[in-house]
Symmetry: C2
Subunit: 222 residues, 2 copies
Amino acid sequence: MTTPLSPTDRSTIKRGKHRAVTDRAALHAVLDNALFCHLAVVVDGAPLVLPTGFGRDGDRVFLHGSTGARSLREAATGIPVCVAVTIVDGVVYARSAFDHSMNYRSAVVHGTAVPVTDPEEKAHALRVLTDHIAPGSWDYARKPTPKELAATSVLALDLTEASVKIRSGPPGDEDVDVAANEKWAGVLPLHSTWGKPEPDPALVGEWDVPEHVTRRSGTSQG
Amino acid sequence: MTTPLSPTDRSTIKRGKHRAVTDRAALHAVLDNALFCHLAVVVDGAPLVLPTGFGRDGDRVFLHGSTGARSLREAATGIPVCVAVTIVDGVVYARSAFDHSMNYRSAVVHGTAVPVTDPEEKAHALRVLTDHIAPGSWDYARKPTPKELAATSVLALDLTEASVKIRSGPPGDEDVDVAANEKWAGVLPLHSTWGKPEPDPALVGEWDVPEHVTRRSGTSQG
């Protein structure tokens, strides 16, 4: 839990160094609390970034690969990717426009994503991916057929090269602005909360909402 | 408002075509409702994606450029970027693990981001950026000094090449699973709400929270 992240030049935070966090437990926490990620690849020399599902399995993450990126579908041996997850905790209202900011938890992972093709490992990856967005759903829902398994593309990415950046707390105004005491400053927190389950109108008859869904309802996300 | 988006090959949605939205008003709405974006660039041939602030100004967006990406700082004439904004509205609990999904609103913009250097345009861009994360703050807060203005890097990106994808509503289970009626299915909505303002402990004396902050408190984000 205390293995430090392995910094390379590109995963070493240069701006806002005081916000960099370098222990692996913090990386895991940010990843586990984020609902989805943004996955970036290079296609024809240009960047492409798309939101996609992911789930952590120890010191790697699985990614849903069928994001429409040609390069992902073509990468049999692996493809350079960058994955970012970001949770915003609030807006920081500073005394100056310049010092306005956000409170957030952010992780960026660099590496080579490798397709998961072994059927057993793929089924395991899909359990991890499903339970990340919907804890308990893998055990409850109908499992994938071999055809569905084949139609799903999964990538695995090691968490070897990663950075974590966290900002929390009040504004970081200039001393002169704080001393002047002429403007209000503070934080407006942002809360993400699961609402009330909305049953599918196609359900027939009376249904109790399953426990893995009801226990999430009303709780915080992130 | 009804000018269609101009699709190129890379901005044409191939997967989940039924979720593609092609009018410009929808693009504007997704951008305006997202609090921040993920900005992807190519650095040394590898993708880099980072969360950053943005704000829309008609048919372009301004981006905070000082994200630590060398390539951004070096791009005097423009740099190929891809910007994604994603708002998650809920998790879709399907009858099958395979059909689990999320409800979301997503926009992806491709193009060449150009540094904003003209001082007057830069001040305008900073107003747009500030008011995007904190509406009303530009007028309320202390304006940037020439030194602060110089220390801030801003990029402009046209919205010419963009795609919008929206998923809403109940699960899209297979007919056979719906007919079996053996599993609960539905949507668990995710709500993002502004909390109670937390005044900076460094404020001296009694302070009323300004109206542009209090009017946001308790409202939905996104």
